[in-house]
């Protein structure tokens, strides 16, 4: 058996850094955190065995600063680096630099990363291996006439996408030939500024698709398994906010077909470690390859819960050279898991980030509730990083009971000081179409456009009453020198009123 690492540097922050630190500790591996100036008191720093300051708050000076991170890893005697998600996780250059410095990058090879990182090349490769892709251009061209002709052939609406793209950047939907030239220019401009590469390509626009992805694990000995699907159709701004498994859209034969297609993709690109193959599923249950996410994903806990496999620990084991301890037939989907992402964002204002101080935080607990979080009362949410605060993941026997459990968990998730989508998510989970599993990637625009928080007269009364009471209590307590604070909520400990 291959020997596991002794010490791993986690090149990330927030909840995913804490998640990886836990996995390290469970495997008796020391964990080294890195942090920017503003993250000095972050939980991942406090929980790691060692922590190294790597630069100022802007990501380019810290969490994207490859040399500083590699230097920190060498200085602390690490033998591997876990990149988490985002930041440097899908950066082939960083993986190469790690290799050169004698550090194992916990992820796929730089070659595989490069191949799947270019969406157009990935498309071409998987097509050659018989994996279905959306009808579209096999290569890129700057010739507007050729593009126009191609669009006419496959029929409108069409999608323009950036080859280097992700997160919806450079993406345009074109409904008529007249819009094409303008959309093409805009897409190229956006792609150039976002990825430094303005290569774009055309695809048939799939109406009302579902986003269904397959989790895979592949070791360096040629074994690969899929760990079933996650349905991630509930998105806002092209970003997922609710993920679940199993998908209400898949039956057993389709699940098997998609799993096999995902494994074909993995083999075609020579992928190792944990990864996700994303598909679009149309209304007639045809699926099309979308892209490969060459990293651990935000929504990985969903899969961990229904399979019982710890994906982060498997990533570490695979990177250290171990073979997968199970085969496809050993894996089963058990029960139903749902994840809700909790961002600091305002659901009443187009989900724009909401920064500020977290005044009071109380996280839900209970059987079947997992909270992957990095927040605490008094923490400052800054504008420097992705505004994800935490993820709530629940497991239960059936989809409906899991939805109920999630709603209860969210109702107990107190976050005051910044806006979060919690009240929005509660309503969404209760929507009859969501309950029925009738989902598509436009679900939020279709059913919740311009959503506003609705307060019943009762809730308004409770809120004002509670506020008035707090202010009144402050007035009736002394402000003399014997008691430093006039706020009884600060000076008085726990007290109850049930004796009458």
């Amino acid at each position: 058996m291959a020997k596991l690492f002794r010490k791993i540097l986690i090149a990330n922050r927030g909840e995913i850094a804490r998640r990886v630190i836990r996995a390290c500790h469970e495997l008796n591996i020391a964990a080294v955190a890195v942090y920017s100036e503003v993250d000095h008191h972050a939980l991942h720093v406090l929980e790691a065995d060692e922590a190294v300051a790597i630069g100022a708050a802007p990501p380019l000076e810290s969490y994207l600063n490859m040399d500083a991170i590699i230097q920190a890893a060498r200085a602390t005697g690490c033998d591997a680096i876990h990149p988490g998600y985002g930041f440097l996780s899908e950066n082939a250059e960083f993986a190469r630099k790690c290799e050169k410095a004698g550090l194992v990058f916990i992820g796929p090879s730089p070659e595989a990363m490069e191949l799947v990182g270019n969406k157009l090349r990935a498309r071409q490769t998987v097509m050659q291996h018989g994996v279905p892709v959306t009808p579209g251009m096999a290569s890129h061209t700057a010739d507007l006439d050729a593009i126009q002709q191609f669009a006419d052939n496959i029929g409108y609406p069409i999608m323009i996408k950036a080859a280097a793209g992700g997160g919806g950047k450079g993406m345009r939907i074109v409904h008529t030939p007249e819009e094409l030239a303008h959309a093409l220019e805009a897409s190229q401009r956006e792609a150039r500024s976002a990825f430094g590469d303005d290569t774009v390509y055309l695809e048939k626009f799939i109406e009302n698709p579902r986003h269904v992805e397959i989790q895979i694990l592949a070791d360096t000995h040629g074994h690969a398994v899929h760990l079933f699907e996650r349905e991630c159709s509930i998105q806002r701004r092209h970003q997922k906010i609710i993920e679940e498994s199993p998908s209400p859209a898949l039956d057993e034969p389709l699940r098997q077909q998609m799993g096999e297609a995902a494994l074909k993709v993995i083999q075609a690109v020579g992928y190792t470690n944990a990864g996700t193959v994303e598909f679009l599923l149309d209304e007639n249950k045809n699926f099309y390859f979308l892209e490969v996410n060459a990293r651990i994903q935000v929504e990985h806990p969903v899969t961990e819960w229904i399979t019982g496999v710890d994906l982060v620990k498997q990533q570490i084991r695979i990177a250290s050279g171990e073979a997968l301890p199970f085969q496809q037939q050993d894996l089963v989907q058990r029960g139903h898991a749902i994840e809700c992402r909790i961002y600091a964002e305002d659901p009443e204002n187009n989900f724009l980030p909401s920064i500020g101080k977290l005044l009071w935080v109380q996280e839900p607990v209970g059987p079947g509730i997992r909270v992957d979080s990095s927040i605490y009362s008094g923490m400052e949410v800054t504008h420097y990083y992705d505004p994800i605060l935490s993820k709530v993941i629940v497991w239960d026997e059936s989809r409906n009971s899991a939805i109920n459990k999630m709603i209860d968990a969210l109702k107990q998730y107190v976050i005051l000081g910044v806006r979060t989508p919690i009240p929005f998510l509660i309503e969404l989970l209760n929507h009859p179409k969501f309950r029925l599993g009738e989902l598509n990637t436009h679900f939020i625009e279709e059913h919740f456009a311009n959503w506003k928080l609705n307060l019943s007269p009762e809730e308004q009364a409770i809120a004002v009453m509670a506020a008035q009471q707090v202010q009144r209590l402050s007035r009736n307590t002394p402000t003399s020198t014997t008691q430093p604070s006039s706020n009884p909520w600060q000076t008085i400990g726990h007290w109850e009123l049930f004796q009458d």
Partner: protein
């Protein structure tokens, strides 16, 4: 007493009435009767028609953040047209000194008819083995005392009535 509050930045007219241990609160045209209990620094229980609602809260300067049933609500008291905060006007009109927490009256420090100064100690309330002094918000005369030493009192019960007019 009519006041204006901001609920998530929306102004609403609110009227409070205290009757024994019940509060009657009218928000715009809806009147709701409720009881209050405090469970600690950040938790209150509001009971409406025998159903208890947990209310999480935190105070940030002039804003009280409240969390009910998964909904965060920002509550602020609207300032009066004169520019003076309502808080001071309200305290001028109010003469009832209430128990700021449930507990036992440990010591009654004043008598009916006594003249008291602002910030003068009125009684000591023991809660969770801690003594808490309750003082007069402003100068006045003790009009009525409703409880004696060793009496158990609930949150918000009127202990003393002061007369500020003299």
């Amino acid at each position: 007493m009519k006041t204006t509050w901001l609920i998530n930045h929306q102004p609403v007219n609110v009227q409070f009435n205290k009757q024994a241990n019940n509060w009657q609160i009218t928000v715009e045209n809806h009147t709701i009767t409720l009881q209050l209990a405090s469970m600690g620094e950040h938790l209150m229980v509001v009971t409406i028609q025998d159903k208890p609602h947990p209310v999480h809260l935190v105070v940030d300067k002039e804003t009280v953040w409240v969390f009910i049933h998964g909904k965060p609500i920002m509550v602020q008291k609207q300032e009066e047209e004169t520019g003076a905060p309502i808080a001071s006007a309200a305290s001028a009109a109010e003469s009832a000194i209430e128990a700021p927490m449930p507990g036992k009256i440990l010591k009654m420090l004043v008598q009916e008819g006594e003249k008291v100064q602002a910030q003068q100690r009125l009684f000591i309330l023991e809660a969770m083995k801690m003594e808490n002094e309750v003082v007069a918000p402003q100068e006045g005369i003790v009009k009525k005392i409703y409880f004696q030493e060793n009496d158990l009192v609930s949150l918000g019960q009127v202990i003393i009535e002061l007369d500020y007019t003299t």
